[in-house]
C-alpha cells in the first residue's frame, strides 16, 4: 500500500530549494534547468497536444482572412434562413449558418482573433502590473509590502467575474473594458508570485554572495532575482492565458464587450444562441468547442511546463 521507494541510485541533479540554487546545482551537473525542462516536455504527450492546439489557435487567428471561406459579415444564406429553420453543418457550410444567414465557420474562425487579442493584451497588462507590484513588495518589505498585500487580499475577496462586471460598468461596455477588467483580476496572482519568489530568494546563497561583493540592491533585483523568477512567471502566464480566454468569453456572453454585434466573438455568439438551442444547437456547439480547445491548449502546456520545472509538483 505504501509507495515508499528508497532510491538506491541517486537521481540526477537534486532539485530542491529556491530557483537560484536550483539553477546552480543543475548547471553543476552539466545541464541547465531549461534544457532539462525541454527534455521532459518533449516526452510528454499532453504537452505536445497542448502545443498543437495553441499553434492551431494562433494560426487560425492570424491567418483568418485567408482561412475563412466567407466574410463573417456576409450573409450568403440569407434567403434560406428562417427563425425556425437554421441549417446545420453541410458540404457548403461546414459549420452551418447562423440566424442571419452568415457562415458559421467563418465567424468561428474570425472569433479567434478577438479571443487571442483580448487574452494576450489582458495577460500582458495584468502580468506587468502584477510583477511590478510584487517586485516592489518583495524588495522593499515593510509597509510597502503590507499595503500591497492588503490590496491584493481585497481584490481576491471579490470573485473575478463580479469584479470584471464592476469594471465594465464603470468603463462602459467595450472591448477595452473587458481587457482592463481581466487584466485587473489577474494582477493579484502575479503579485503573489513575484513576491513569493523574492522572499524565497532573499536568503538564497547566491544573493548573499552577490551582495557581499558590493552589488547594489537594484542590480541584484533586476539582474539576478528577476531572471530567476522567470520560469514560474512563464508557467503562470500560460495558465492565466487560458483563464483569460474563458473570462473574456464569459464577459462577452454577458454583453459587456459592447461593440458591433456583427463582429464575431465566441462568447457573444454563445449568448445569441439562447433562443435557438432547440432548433439550431450547432450555433452553440461550435463556438463553445472553440473556446474549450483554445483554453485547453494553454492549460495542457502550462500544466506540463509546471511539472517539468518543478519535479516535486504533480499534475
Amino acid at each position: 500500500m505504501s509507495d515508499r521507494r528508497p532510491d538506491p541510485v541517486p537521481d540526477d541533479a537534486a532539485v530542491t530549494g529556491p530557483p537560484g540554487t536550483v539553477e546552480h546545482v543543475a548547471e553543476e551537473h552539466g545541464t541547465s534547468l531549461g534544457k532539462q525542462a525541454l527534455d521532459r516536455l518533449r516526452h510528454d504527450p499532453l504537452a505536445l497536444v497542448g502545443l498543437l492546439l495553441i499553434l492551431g489557435f494562433v494560426s487560425v487567428a492570424v491567418f483568418a482572412p485567408w482561412l475563412a471561406p466567407y466574410d463573417p459579415l456576409d450573409r450568403p444564406g440569407q434567403g434560406v434562413v428562417t427563425p425556425t429553420n437554421i441549417p446545420g453543418p453541410s458540404a457548403e457550410h461546414w459549420m452551418g449558418l447562423d440566424s442571419l444567414g452568415r457562415d458559421e465557420l467563418s465567424r468561428v474562425i474570425f472569433g479567434a482573433r478577438q479571443s487571442l487579442l483580448v487574452g494576450v493584451v489582458s495577460l500582458l497588462l495584468g502580468a506587468s502590473v502584477g510583477i511590478a507590484l510584487g517586485l516592489l513588495a518583495g524588495a522593499f518589505g515593510g509597509w510597502v509590502d503590507a499595503v500591497v498585500m492588503r490590496l491584493t487580499d481585497m481584490m481576491l475577496a471579490v470573485p473575478g467575474l463580479l469584479f470584471a462586471i464592476g469594471i465594465a460598468a464603470v468603463l462602459g461596455q467595450s472591448l477595452l473594458s473587458v481587457m482592463v477588467a481581466i487584466a485587473v483580476i489577474n494582477v493579484p496572482i502575479f503579485v503573489r508570485l513575484l513576491r513569493g519568489s523574492m522572499l524565497a530568494q532573499r536568503n538564497a546563497d547566491y544573493v548573499v554572495a552577490v551582495r557581499s561583493l558590493g552589488v547594489r540592491d537594484r542590480q541584484v533585483v533586476l539582474g539576478h532575482v528577476l531572471p530567476n523568477s522567470l520560469s514560474p512567471v512563464i508557467v503562470q502566464g500560460t495558465l492565466t492565458l487560458a483563464t483569460a480566454i474563458i473570462d473574456a468569453a464569459a464577459l462577452s456572453f454577458l454583453g459587456l464587450s459592447g461593440g458591433d454585434p456583427g463582429v464575431p466573438e465566441w462568447g457573444r455568439m454563445l449568448a445569441e444562441t439562447q433562443r435557438f438551442l432547440a432548433s439550431a444547437p450547432h450555433l452553440a456547439f461550435f463556438p463553445g468547442i472553440a473556446i474549450v480547445l483554445a483554453a485547453l491548449g494553454f492549460t495542457l502546456l502550462g500544466e506540463s511546463m509546471r511539472e517539468a520545472l518543478d519535479p516535486k509538483y504533480r499534475r
Binding site: 500500500m1 505504501s2 509507495d3 515508499r4 521507494r5 528508497p6 538506491p8 541510485v9 541517486p10
Partner: protein, 347 residues
C-alpha cells in the same frame, strides 16, 4: 552459507538453537518504466539469534535499508521484485499474504526509523499513536491502552508521560520524539526490533542517550536488535555481530571485537582508517576512502569495490569474489587484509 560468526557477545544473550531471524540469499530488484532495473540487494544472508544484536553497516546505496524494509515487508507492491528467503522463527515471511504480514508487524517484529519528526503523524496526538498499536495487536480497551501507553513512555524516559499523551508531535523535542517512536515499536514486546539509523537525525548529546536506551531495552527484554547504520562508533557500542555491506552485497561478517581488531575486507579497513583519532599525531592527514560510492563496478563484472581499492588487481575483475570464511570472518575478497604480514595494520 550462514553469514554470521558468533563469538561471545557481551551485549545480548548467548545464542541457543535456531536463530530467530534467518535471511538467505535475499535479493531486491527495483524496476522503473523507461530505466534499467536496479539490483539494490543481492544474495544477502545473515542470522539474528534470539536476544542478540546485529549491525548492518554501509554507506548510502549499500542496500542496508532496503534489506530491512524487505524483511519487514514495507517495500511497495509494484515495481519491486523480492527473491530469497526470510524466516522469522521458522515462518517464511515472503510467502505470507498482506494480512498475515500486517499481523506480524508491530507485534512480533517492529521497526524504528531515522527521522523522528517526519515519522510521526503531525495531526494526531502522540498518545493515540501509541495506543493504536496496543489496541490493534493486543486488543486493549481505550482506558487500558492509555495506562499502558503512559507506562511505556515512562519506561523510555519521557517525563510527565500522562501529559505527553495529549501532546502533538511538534510539541516534543527531537529526542523525545525518537523515544516515543521507540516506545511505539516496543509496545507489543516484539521479538525483533530493527532500527534504521535511529540516531542520525539527532543532536550528538541526544544520540548517546538514545543508544543507551536501546541497549538497556534490548538487554532487559531479550529482544533481538538489527541496527542499521553508517556510523562505526554506534556499532562498536551496541552490536554483537556486524555485517558490512557494499553495493547490495555483504562483504564482511564478523563478531564485534574481531571486526574492529582485525578487519579483513579492504572496505572495512578503509572505513576504520578514515575515522579521525584523538591519538593520531598532529598534522597527519585524514585518510578517506578514495573515490565515491558512485564509483562502483557492477558485481557481475568483478568486485564492486575494485575501482576504489588500493589492493585491486586483475584477479578482482571478471567474476565477483565469493563469500568465504577467512580467519573466522565471512569475507568477500580475493585479497583480504589479513593475508598481508601481521605488521601491516590499517589502524
Amino acid at each position: 552459507m550462514s553469514g554470521a560468526t558468533v563469538l561471545g557477545g557481551e551485549i545480548g544473550r548467548p545464542s541457543t538453537g535456531e536463530p530467530l531471524l534467518q535471511v538467505r540469499d535475499l535479493g531486491v530488484r527495483f524496476t522503473r518504466r523507461g530505466r534499467a532495473p536496479v539490483q539494490a540487494v543481492d544474495g544477502v544472508s545473515f542470522d539474528v539469534a534470539a536476544g542478540r544484536s546485529v549491525g548492518l553497516v554501509g554507506e548510502s546505496g549499500s542496500g542496508k535499508s532496503v534489506t530491512s524494509l524487505a524483511v519487514m515487508g514495507l517495500l511497495p507492491p509494484r515495481g519491486v521484485e523480492v527473491t530469497g528467503s526470510v524466516r522469522l522463527d521458522g515462518t517464511e515471511l515472503l510467502e505470507l499474504d498482506d494480512a498475515a504480514r500486517r499481523d506480524l508487524r508491530g507485534a512480533d517484529m517492529a521497526m524504528v526509523f531515522q527521522d523522528p519528526m517526519s515519522s510521526l503523524n503531525p495531526v494526531v496526538q502522540v498518545g493515540v499513536q501509541v495506543t493504536e498499536v496496543l489496541r490493534r495487536h493486543r486488543g486493549m480497551g481505550r482506558a487500558q491502552a492509555r495506562d499502558e501507553a503512559a507506562d511505556l513512555l515512562q519506561r523510555v524516559g519521557i517525563p510527565e508521560p500522562r501529559r505527553r499523551l495529549k501532546d502533538y508531535p511538534h510539541q516534543l523535542s527531537g529526542g523525545m520524539r525518537q523515544r516515543a517512536l521507540i516506545a511505539m515499536s516496543l509496545a507489543c514486546e516484539p521479538r525483533l526490533l530493527i532500527a534504521d539509523e535511529p540516531t542520525t537525525a539527532l543532536d550528538v548529546t541526544i544520540q548517546a542517550q538514545i543508544l543507551d536506551l536501546l541497549r538497556e531495552l534490548v538487554v532487559g527484554t531479550g529482544t533481538s536488535l538489527v541496527l542499521i547504520t553508517h556510523d562505526l562508533g554506534v556499532v562498536a557500542g551496541l552490536c554483537d555481530d556486524v555485517h558490512v555491506m557494499y553495493s547490495g552485497r555483504i562483504v564482511e561478517s564478523a563478531g564485534r571485537r574481531e571486526l574492529f581488531a582485525r578487519p579483513e575486507h579492504p572496505y572495512t579497513g578503509g572505513l576504520l582508517a578514515s575515522v579521525p583519532r584523538l591519538d593520531a599525531p598532529r598534522g597527519e592527514p585524514l585518510r578517506p576512502i578514495p573515490g565515491s560510492p558512485t564509483l562502483t563496478r557492477p558485481w557481475g563484472t568483478g568486485c564492486a569495490f575494485e575501482p576504489r581499492c588500493t589492493r585491486s588487481d586483475d584477479a578482482c575483475v571478471g567474476d565477483a569474489p565469493p563469500l568465504e570464511t577467512v580467519r573466522g570472518h565471512g569475507v568477500r575478497c580475493v585479497h583480504p587484509l589479513g593475508a598481508d604480514t601481521p605488521a601491516e595494520e590499517t589502524r
